[in-house]
Amino acid sequence: MSRLANRIFVVSLLVAFMSALPAWADSHGKAGQYGIGKAATAEEIAGWDIDIRPDGKGLPPGSGSVEDGEMMYEEKCASCHGSFGEGVGRYPVLSGGEGSLTEPRPEKTVGSYWPYASTLWDYIHRAMPFTQPQSMSDDEVYAITAYVLYLNDLVEDDFVLTAETFTSIEMPNQDGFFLDDRPDTENTTCMEDCKDPASVKILSEPTMVTLAAQEDVAVTEETSSVDDKVYRQACQMCHAAGVAGAPMTGDKAAWAPRLEQGREKLLTGAIEGIGIMPAKGGQKQLSDQEVATALDYMIEQVKQD
């Protein structure tokens, strides 16, 4: 290579190198300078890369119909969100609320508020069902997503959701959002006679007693003749807090109809899973005997005086 050609080669290499880096990188060093960390393989990335974007980027192959979704929704979602998406207790309402955003008590649902359908697929897959996140197949996520869209009158009852039909969905409130433009208030640092003292009136005071009621909130330590180790490890998380409709430990009213079914039936449900409760509460390493011990503990809590 001639000296000139050599110089051109070096310069073009340099240009190629610099254009591949963002401007900030110049003053901070270069990629890989520390040599710390292990290269992430495509397989490793694929296992964790679960995010979906509004343009559909990230949606996997698969499909699910409104019809399929109805049954799955009833089994996995309705105990918290209600059969029609109306919400149970303080769990999120999923449907309704159209036109309510300007009302004093807006109802922010998938149909009335969410700007993108991709968010629904992403979130159901990412975090639902509440007690067993990421336990559903892609087809199940498609089906339940389709059903929640149906509950919001966004698709017809014969709709089948796929990565392709996804782009046909239009969310009513897509244009309802704007970028942060604060500050949106302008106060002054007036120091004297800033307003008429006669205009100072009390508008509201708390109506709820929260601090004084705190002792009622603390988790009470139950004493029991039955071993509660397994209960504490595997069951307490949901059954002490009443998560997703789980009958709360010690709640006699909630347990009465269950006790009527008999211990054997309850035990079968606990071992095999029932409704939203996973088999053995999701702790598959437990033996059937250990599950039985935990169940006996919980039964004892509603039999005690």
């Binding site: 990629a31 990335i45 959002f177 704007f178 807090a241």
Partner: protein, 440 residues
């Protein structure tokens, strides 16, 4: 001259509090046992004393603890607060959330001094409970629009140059229950979704350099590894500015409640973006619009539109003494105290009013005044027993002045939930008690 309320006979207070939890039938017996039960039950160390002995511990007598030996070293290998301070704790508001797995607890701001929140009192916000993560099995993946996607262990992260900063962490829903009217009866609940810690970790910009960010990159997705897999889109400018990948808090490894072993931390921004139990960072060219930046953490205005990506926690302040938990017990001299903060930088000044905002006096800033950190202010005053309407008003280094409720509602209506930073009013009654009010 200056008497701090609540510092009276703490011993008696403690016993009566313990007694109040006991079945009335058993209470008399409980009180007879006195401190032996209260002290012993809580700390598990001998505390042989009685109610009458409490008086014997006062001058001119020599207190019991001066005439005996105490517990030896590593009685508590990891030390705990005095058993007499058991009421200084996080508390929750049960009706706020459906359960205690996806829920929030509040920092007891009235009980704290200085600007650092002890790690065990930092407010908690979970969406799927606290995961138990073995640090040996922890990995952070950084991929997307990068030259070399990498996976880091804890040891890897600790090999990079580290940065330490004192910053507040605030849930954007802090005070959200007060948008429509005064509702909560304690400072812990009106303002307790904020804490301030020393955070140590590696700058995200350092990790981004290491993987080599492609020119078209504009956003980063941060994702947690708990059951909720919390995810937020963060603009690249912030990531290259002061975003930290944190592994330590107040000098020790992050607490499980705060994202152990690793969280992302965005100083001055809404706490939700500081994703805990961080497992993955993906570099991309567009935001992801996930659930926590569309359905939640967007600010609905009166006209039905909503503000999105409203990251910054604008300047706010509150008087922490007196307050509902810390009433005035007698007339005389006091030092009013409070906390101010701004996600835009340092606090420049704080003013205090005793007449509901008609007249104001400038407070002094105490101790460290750091950007995006809690800043303590105080003002000497003499209480003559008159009722008062106490307010504080912060100004940050950008010149932003904390708004009134009227100004905030005029701009946003009453349904925003998030980013309520209006001037707060405590009503001081003639008997020294303090209640939460909103005024015109």
């Amino acid at each position: 001259m200056f008497s701090k309320p609540g510092s009276g006979p703490a011993v008696l207070r403690k016993v009566s509090q313990e007694a109040s939890k006991v079945d009335p039938a058993k209470r008399r017996d409980f009180l007879k046992k006195g401190l032996a039960v209260a002290g012993g039950a809580v700390v598990g160390v001998p505390f042989a004393s009685t109610l009458s002995a409490a008086e014997n511990n006062l001058p001119p007598n020599l207190p019991e603890w001066s005439r005996s030996l105490g517990a030896g070293v590593i009685t508590n290998p990891y030390g705990m607060p005095s058993a007499f301070e058991g009421e200084i704790k996080r508390r929750t508001v049960p009706w706020l959330t459906a359960d205690r797995i996806a829920a929030i607890s509040f920092t007891p701001l009235a009980e704290l001094d200085g600007i650092i929140t002890p790690s065990g009192l930092v407010f908690e916000r979970y969406h799927a409970g606290v995961p138990t993560i073995n640090p040996d099995e922890y990995r952070l993946m950084l991929h997307g629009l990068v030259e070399n996607p990498l996976i880091f262990t804890i040891d890897d992260l600790r090999r990079f140059p580290s940065t330490t900063a004192i910053n507040f962490l605030e849930c954007p829903a802090n005070g959200g229950m007060e948008w429509r009217a005064a509702q909560m009866d304690a400072l812990q609940f009106t303002h307790g979704m904020i804490s301030c810690c020393e955070w140590t970790g590696v700058l995200l910009s350092t990790l981004l350099e290491e993987v080599g960010v492609k020119p078209e990159a504009k956003w980063i997705l941060a994702e947690g590894s708990d059951g909720s897999h919390m995810s937020r889109s963060i603009p690249l400018e912030k990531a290259l500015d002061d975003t930290l990948i944190v592994y330590a808090q107040n000098g020790e490894p992050l607490r499980p409640e705060q994202g152990y072993p690793v969280r992302i931390f965005n100083p001055g921004w809404e706490g939700n973006t500081s994703v805990k139990w961080l497992r993955r960072l993906e570099v991309g060219d567009k935001p992801w619009y996930h659930r926590e930046e569309t359905s939640k953490y967007t600010d609905l205005l009166a006209d039905g539109r909503a503000r999105k990506f409203s990251y910054v926690q604008e300047s706010n302040s509150v008087v922490t003494f007196p307050c509902p938990e810390k009433p005035l017990k007698q007339k005389g001299r006091y030092e009013l105290e409070g906390l101010a903060w701004s996600g835009s930088g340092k606090i420049k000044r704080v003013d205090v009013s005793f007449d509901g905002g008609v007249n104001w006096r400038q407070a002094r800033l105490k101790g460290l005044v750091l950007p995006k950190a809690l800043t303590r202010f105080s003002l000497d005053f003499t209480w003559d027993g008159s009722p008062a309407l106490i307010q504080s008003r912060s100004v940050d280094e950008t010149g932003y002045v904390q708004p009134t409720f009227a100004q905030l509602r005029a701009a946003r209506g009453e349904s925003s939930i998030y980013h309520k930073n209006a001037i707060h009013t405590w009503r001081l009654h003639a008997d020294g008690t303090v209640t939460n009010v909103q005024i015109s």
